[in-house]
């Protein structure tokens, strides 16, 4: 048996979340006494693949080919399922991101493997496969037992951390049998904004709410995000009003994020908003209302007008960075 990790790549490169997945898989594999196998789909160099051995991959299976340039849920499921069978995977681990959420449920059905998604802990023990996951959109946790023999997990991003456990790994190529249905989804166009920090990847997030008063007041937030290499986010009213794109909406029905630092400006902190950001390691809130619920969730608070605080904050951070 083995622990199998699906390592997604972005234009041939892995991200920190991939390293976190392999770290998690390594620790689980040590607990279960299994090796860690990584499967990669798409065009990734052997050099890049080998970087995953630093976090504990024993074996790396690469599947390449033009047909895998786009994510077709059926063909990717078929390819990963074939690797899982060949490698006798007892546990399969994917990221709890758009790709993982698309593939894990299909794999679960295909392999008759119980699925726990958005997991943030290792199993309780070797014989008691109970993992912790977020439920009620971050308002609570559930301990979930997977009773099937094979198991699938999606790991909540930035919930476990990265640690090195170097292994001598080998890279092997694998050519899956084509999926019985063939690829039916057809990607006609890809629109990407280059150079933008992706919200769910960001270590620092700068967020604005209705207290910003107008979409024309986003300049200082953008400037602050620029200095910090942060992503921009917003509260639901802001995206509902069309002040900012819905991709930036964080909260119960938007993105659920867990950055190291979340800075909320003019956000009162409705329970739905807090659900999406409460896993942040540190929360800073700036709001004119000292009774705003955001201060109950925040680590550091400033009672004041975001429009006045932002220029000071930008100046102080610049000064601190220049020292």
């Amino acid at each position: 048996m083995s622990v199998l990790v699906f390592a997604e790549n972005w234009d041939g490169k892995f991200k920190k979340q991939t390293c976190e997945l392999v770290t998690y898989a390594r620790q689980m594999a040590d607990m279960l006494g299994f090796p860690v196998t990584v499967v990669s789909i798409g065009n990734v160099t052997d050099e890049e693949l080998k970087t995953l051995s630093r976090y504990g991959a024993d074996r790396i299976v690469k599947i390449s080919g033009e047909q895998y340039k786009i994510l077709d849920n059926q063909s990717c499921t078929s390819a990963i399922a074939q690797v899982a069978e060949k490698e006798q995977a007892g546990v399969i681990i994917l990221a709890h991101n758009n790709t993982g959420k698309a593939l894990a449920p299909r794999l679960s059905v295909r392999l008759k493997a119980g699925l726990a998604s958005g997991v943030s802990s290792l199993p309780a023990s070797r014989d008691n496969f109970v993992v912790r996951r977020k439920v009620f959109s971050g308002k609570a946790f559930a301990a979930v037992r997977i009773s099937s023999e094979k198991k699938i997990l999606t790991l909540s991003q930035n919930s476990f951390g990265i640690s090195e456990a170097p292994k001598e790994s080998m890279v092997v190529s694998f050519t899956p049998k084509p999926d019985r249905t063939g690829i039916q989804t057809e990607v006609r166009d890809v629109q990407k904004q280059a150079g933008k920090v992706i919200l769910t990847d960001a270590e620092i997030v700068v967020s604005g709410g209705r207290g910003m008063k107008s979409p024309d007041n986003w300049g200082p937030l953008e400037e602050l995000a620029g200095i910090l290499g942060a992503a921009l986010a917003c509260s639901r009213p802001v995206s509902d009003e069309g002040w900012r794109p819905h991709e930036e909406h964080t909260g119960q029905t938007g993105k659920i994020i867990a950055p190291n630092l979340y800075m909320a400006f003019g956000i009162s902190g409705a329970i739905q908003h807090l659900a999406g950001v409460s896993s942040s390691k540190c929360i800073v809130a700036v709001n004119t209302d000292k009774n705003a619920p955001i201060f109950e969730a925040a680590d550091y608070g400033v009672v004041g007008d975001a429009h006045k605080v932002l220029p000071d904050l930008i100046r102080e951070i610049r000064a601190a960075r220049n020292q």
Binding site: S108, A113, V135, R145, S147, T185, S239, I271, V309
Partner: protein
């Protein structure tokens, strides 16, 4: 074309969650139930398509897996404009069970487009739509933020990191929808509420399925320590705290 929208009945988003039975089950006492927000957006989009003659949608059906207590949520969907409904009479045990019950509904009546929200706001599994498509052996597209039909061709926008893809797909398929698919959910009119009472709602006995997962315990997050307040006149202090105490800058 015929569209099926899968609905989940969930606690209102303002609910403060509590547990009972020594933290083994959700305490539903005093909870208001609503259509899962993503499912509601999917339903809204399905109804918009039905109202546009060029899209060629003849019927919008809703389906849920739940006990009789979920009927108010189904009636709400009918009041908003769905034509008919199925309820599989079973308490949802896990995503695998729910997906199998929904597959049984599709087995009774074929649909061209099956829509499901990307997750439910209670169990956040993000699993039912994908599992359903695999059980049915049809394509699925996840994280879709727009759905249009032009000359019988379904065109979707799928969100990817830092952008989106425009995807064409043949029917039947499962569309797993997220925010952006429709702007605002609809509010039922008085007339809608009246007609909803007489719209067909079929109750089906559940298929026999064994769950693959079970929740053994719930926990509330640890309470946070009090917030450190910083004077707006000394923002430099905030920066020093973030650097030296929190070590996040």
């Amino acid at each position: 074309m015929k569209i099926l929208v899968c609905l989940s009945s969930v606690p209102d988003t303002t609910t403060k969650v509590r547990f009972r039975d020594r933290d083994r089950s959700f305490d539903a006492g005093g909870v208001q139930w609503i259509i899962n927000p993503w499912d509601e957006l999917a339903l809204t989009r399905a109804l918009e398509l039905k109202e546009n003659p060029a899209a060629g949608v003849q019927k919008v059906t809703v389906a849920t897996v739940g006990t009789a207590e979920t009927e108010p949520v189904i009636r709400k969907a009918l009041a908003i404009g769905a034509d008919d409904a199925y309820r599989v009479d079973a308490a949802p045990q896990d995503a695998w069970c729910v997906a199998n019950q929904l597959a049984m509904v599709v087995g009774k009546e074929p649909f061209d487009i099956i829509l499901a929200g990307i997750e439910s706001s209670d169990y956040n599994g993000s699993a039912v739509g994908g599992m359903l498509s695999e059980i049915l052996g049809i394509p699925s597209v996840s994280a879709i933020s727009s759905l249009t039909i032009e000359n019988n061709q379904v065109i979707l926008n799928r969100e990817i990191d830092g952008g989106k893809e425009v995807v064409h797909i043949p029917v039947p398929f499962v569309g797993i929808v997220q925010k952006g698919i429709a702007k605002e959910p609809r509010i039922a009119s008085m007339r809608g509420i009246m007609t909803a009472r007489t719209k067909p709602l079929q109750v089906l006995p559940p298929a026999a399925v064994t769950p693959m997962t079970e929740t053994v315990e719930y926990q509330l997050p640890a309470t946070k320590k009090a917030c450190t307040m910083v004077d707006p006149a000394s923002i430099g202090e905030l920066v020093r705290l973030l650097q030296n105490e929190a070590k996040v800058l």
